[in-house]
């Protein structure tokens, strides 16, 4: 079950071709969210979709070597802590919690930095949580086999 590798060459070739463009599209959605539709939530889901596609086609254990489970779990926390940390930093810089104005000498640049960091935190958390969800679902019940 765990190492069941897809027998169809079409699937494996197509997923190999698609993997990089999906991630690049995810990064585009992540960092272009200020100018167009998008942002952390959507980008996280798109990046997670690339990794889920990979582990669907090549088997869970290969997906595990690509994104080790423990690193994935640490990254889940890193995203939330990055978001909360931006708030703490703005307190330390004599602002209020999550007040991005103080992050730079120019308030609007500060807002820009804050929004990008916060969206990055959201993106990391969403992507890793989705990968973790997929992994938990896919590996559930394997112990009985």
């Amino acid at each position: 079950m765990r190492d069941k590798i897809s027998s169809s060459p079409v699937l494996s070739v197509v997923s190999k071709i698609l993997f990089a463009p999906i991630i690049i599209f995810g990064l585009y959605v992540q960092f272009h969210g200020d100018y167009g539709p998008g942002g952390g939530f959507q980008a996280g889901v798109i990046v997670a979709a690339a990794f889920i596609l990979y582990s669907m086609i090549f088997g869970l254990s290969k997906g595990e070597t690509l994104v080790p489970i423990m690193i994935n779990r640490y990254l889940m926390c890193v995203g939330v802590l990055l978001y909360a940390g931006v708030g703490i930093v703005s307190i330390l810089l004599d602002g209020m919690y999550l007040d991005y104005n103080v992050l730079s000498s120019d308030p609007s640049t500060g807002q820009h930095i804050g929004i990008i960091l916060v969206e990055l935190g959201v993106g990391i958390t969403v992507a890793t949580v989705m990968i973790a969800l997929y992994h938990s679902f896919a590996s559930f019940g394997e112990i009985n086999e």
Binding site: Y35, I52, M76, Q111, H112, G114, I115, V122, L133, S139
Partner: protein, 190 residues
Amino acid sequence: MNFLLINFFLISLLLVTTFFIFKTTSLISVVALTGAFTLLCSAIYVNLDAVDVAFTEAAVGSGISTILMVMAAAKLPEGKKNKLINLFPSIILAVSISLILIIIIANLPLLGDPNAPIHLHVVPEYLKESKDFFHIPNVVTNILASYRGFDTLGETIVIFTAGLGVIALLTSNTLNRKTNFKKNNKKNER
């Protein structure tokens, strides 16, 4: 006129999809049809000019959640047909809920009404000042990340907690399960 035509077309497709979700008995096709349903919903959002919502609906609703539902359906035992024993209570429930919803919809402000309460509170201020202040053209991002930063932090923590819960419930931690199993066996022996 075009707007109405497209909306009518999409909503009738939505009704057809719903009908087939009711009709099918196989789990996988229900999952696939639900994916189609959310994709149609995101098309409706695009038609309503809510591109961000449509994007989220397409990525989360018809993308990831369909995959997760397929995974969950694959874990379920096959061959269990959907048996509807007594339709009467569910029909009454569905009709009463739809009646309540129709009454509520009748009291909602019209689509695009400039005097609707939601357009009078803080939205004009946000729309007016956000572009000059942030230099970020996407007002949705400004509201999401800056004006409503606390809410988004809360949402992120909700997602994080959901992930933690699923990991705690479903992850097959071989070592722990074996020790628990032994403990339970010992208890049973006593």
